[in-house]
């Protein structure tokens, strides 16, 4: 099927096989593109797709509950079991938590990022940016544990509340604690994309908006917010998906009734040795993320990416 190599060789100056290949692909641009991207595509297929496929396949198997050996008989039992109590509650709780964390991060990150871009001077901006990413340099576990110290009944929170004459707040080891900790931990992942998006809004647009008689709030609503949507969307994908998969924060700061999807996956892998069910259950966040991305697309979040 290849062009007659003899003919190519004929009139060609010296250069050998490489030269021949170059000429060959020049005439077939599609093949050329394919050849150029084949290495990254192969890496993607083998690392991501194959791993996901292996996961999905496992979900159709079962294990011998005693010896823990995987039995390669194909069935849908694991996927059916997802509908059994208490899993629907856990899935709903996880989605609610992810939504709450994402909304909180949005509400906090937008003014913060706006302040950094439009109001803060260059030096303050650098300080704020560093302060935002600084927690990421510290181990995740240390940050979660530090919140335990803050939220404990004898912790910094109640100490501060008592200082201003307010009564104690006992939210340690509850879903409230989880909400606060998640919001804190994923906050930088929301701030940075929003910051990047706002930075790209040209000053001239705001001036034009003002020239045309729009007040601050109108400019914010009709000019800045729409242009910031890609950043908000990117940030929300981070915060939403990170919350969806976490199992450490629920086990450390959650209380009774704080199991999330990640907890169930971890317990089935780590305690029950039931990898097939864990695999089947891990498809739940995949499905949720797919739905989430479709909604984001509908909202037009990717149009200006």
């Amino acid at each position: 099927m290849a062009a007659d190599p003899a003919r190519i060789q004929e009139g060609a100056p010296a250069g050998g096989a490489l030269r021949a290949l170059s000429r060959f692909t020049w005439r077939r641009p599609r093949l050329k593109t394919l050849g150029q991207i084949s290495a990254p595509v192969a890496a993607f297929v083998f690392v991501y797709v194959a791993a996901l496929a292996a996961l999905l396949i496992q979900g159709f198997w079962t294990t011998d509950s005693f010896t823990g050996k995987v039995i390669h008989s194909w069935n849908l039992d694991n996927f059916r079991a997802i509908a059994d109590a208490p899993y629907p509650t856990i899935i709903l709780r996880t989605v609610a938590m992810a939504t709450a964390v994402t909304l909180t991060c949005l509400v906090l990150a937008f003014p913060y990022a706006y302040f950094m871009v439009r109001i803060a001077g260059p030096r303050l901006r650098v300080i704020l940016l560093v302060a935002t990413v600084l927690p990421l340099w510290v181990s995740y576990l240390v940050r979660v544990y530090s919140w335990r110290l803050i939220l404990n009944p004898d912790g910094a929170l109640n100490w501060a509340l008592n200082l201003v004459g307010l009564p104690d707040l006992n939210i340690a080891y509850t879903n409230w604690a989880m909400w606060i900790v998640f919001t804190y931990i994923w906050f930088p992942f929301m701030v940075l994309p929003v910051y990047a998006a706002l930075e790209r809004v040209p000053q001239s647009y705001l001036e034009a908006s003002a020239d045309l008689g729009a007040h601050g709030p109108t400019t914010l609503r009709r000019v800045i917010l729409p242009l910031a949507v890609p950043g908000l969307a990117a940030g929300s994908i981070f915060t939403f998906s990170l919350t969806l998969g976490d199992y450490i924060a629920p086990s450390l700061v959650g209380g009774p009734g704080s199991s999330l999807i990640g907890t169930v996956v971890f317990e089935n892998l780590g305690l029950a040795n039931n990898a097939p069910f864990a695999a089947a259950f891990a498809t739940v966040p995949l499905a949720i993320m797919a739905v989430y991305l479709v909604i984001m697309k509908r909202l037009g979040a990717f149009e200006s990416l």
């Binding site: 010896t67 823990g68 050996k69 009944p153 912790g155 009774p256 317990e267 029950a272 040795n273 039931n274």
Partner: protein
């Protein structure tokens, strides 16, 4: 067309790759009648704190077996390390009762000859042939250390000493209770029900029928609103007793001693219903590459001195009666502190962890297995 074919090939490759480790073959090994010369090396899977230098170094020197230990994070980790890749990677494992039966039935561990362990005769009777490492009279493990799951309480909050597990099911203690986050905790509740609701007919807390498990789950679900936290790590519970508002809970002697050392007013006891507990055994892999060193290790670690050292270091109780004296010589009062000098009946009163299995000896194979327990535990926690 081409692409589809490629996907097929990739899937087949993935399937094949997944299938290979599961297809390991195990070769049988006869029980040795004597211990030969050491192979110069010993590989172990142990709990963190079980292979400390202070007792490993003398062993290495005396036996010539260089020890390399891998720490496991959970019983399930241990099980997987001992069964994956054919199992020849590690010689011995310090398996707890909730993994030991699984290892035996999976064929991962071999029968051991207790006659080759001189200290064996000094073990408390309860640990010579315990049901979690001895099946049909065959020994698959050598007991090493154990500990009870005790009821711990803050002595300032409880002027009157609680004497029953009912304290952790009582609404009076709402928001102050901490219990372990582990499916095996179901056995604690089952033990309590076996005494308070004899009509259920629970004989062994690890052998529950569907109806019995349902009754236990009902009790545990009613307990959930009272719980401050299901603790995952011992340090979690220590935190909660120090400044987290917890005043009563199911605990281990380790937490009690640590808290007492930090001047937190706590005490612990085994309530009148009895208690569950963990017991660890050294088990020999069927594929052990260094069986002689493994036997030498089991001979060594059951002697009074290393038994006492490990007990004090880890906060648990040795199975060798003679370790008590050494414990007191190493740290005054530690023998009594860890209950290493109790009458035989004390050790018999503890219901040691064992893997819940369907075929639980009642001839009907209708018991709930570990998977059912895990699912039930997920339901309990909500």
């Amino acid at each position: 067309m081409k692409r589809i074919r490629f996907v097929h090939v990739a899937l087949a490759a993935v399937v094949a790759a997944l299938a290979v480790p599961a297809a390991g073959v195990s070769k049988g090994s006869a029980v040795p009648s004597s211990v030969g010369k050491g192979e110069g090396k010993l590989t172990m899977v142990v709990w963190e704190g079980y292979a400390e230098k202070q007792w490993v170094a003398p062993f290495e020197k005396a036996s010539g077996c260089k020890v390399s230990a891998k720490y496991a994070g959970s019983s399930n980790d241990m099980f997987n390390l001992m069964t994956s890749g054919g199992g020849g990677q590690y010689d011995v494992v310090s398996a707890s009762g909730d993994a030991s039966l699984r290892l035996i039935y999976a064929g991962a561990v071999a029968e051991v000859n207790v006659k080759l362990i001189p200290a064996y005769k000094d073990f408390y009777k309860a640990f010579q042939s315990p049901p979690h490492n001895t099946v049909d009279g065959k020994h698959y493990g050598i007991s090493i250390q154990f500990g009870p799951n005790v009821l711990m309480y803050n002595t300032k909050s409880f002027k009157k000493k609680p004497t029953s597990w009912s304290a952790i099911y009582s609404p009076a203690n709402k928001g102050k209770i901490t219990i372990p986050d582990n499916p095996i905790q179901i056995a604690d509740a089952a033990l309590y029900l076996s005494k308070t609701k004899p009509a259920l007919g629970i004989k062994d807390p690890y052998e529950l029928t569907k109806a019995q498990l349902a009754a236990v789950v009902t009790l545990l679900k009613a307990q959930r609103p009272l719980i401050k936290k299901y603790w995952g790590l011992a340090s979690d519970q220590i935190d909660l007793f120090k400044n987290g508002g917890s005043t009563i809970g199911a605990s281990w002697p380790y937490q009690v001693n640590t808290l007492a050392a930090d001047k937190v007013p706590v005490a612990a006891l085994i309530p009148k219903e009895g208690a569950t507990g963990w017991a660890d055994s050294y088990m020999l892999s069927t594929e052990a590459q260094h069986p002689n060193c493994a036997y030498k290790w089991m001979q060594y670690i059951t002697q009074p001195k290393p038994q006492a050292q490990q007990a004090i270091y880890f906060g648990e109780t040795p199975v060798n009666k003679k370790a008590c004296k050494v414990m007191d010589s190493l740290s005054k009062g530690s023998c009594a502190q860890y209950s290493a000098n109790k009458p035989e009946a004390y050790y018999r009163s503890i219901k040691f962890w064992k893997t819940p299995v369907a075929d639980c000896g009642n001839g009907q194979k209708n018991c709930m297995d570990l998977r059912a327990w895990t699912t039930a535990w997920t339901q309990v926690k909500g």
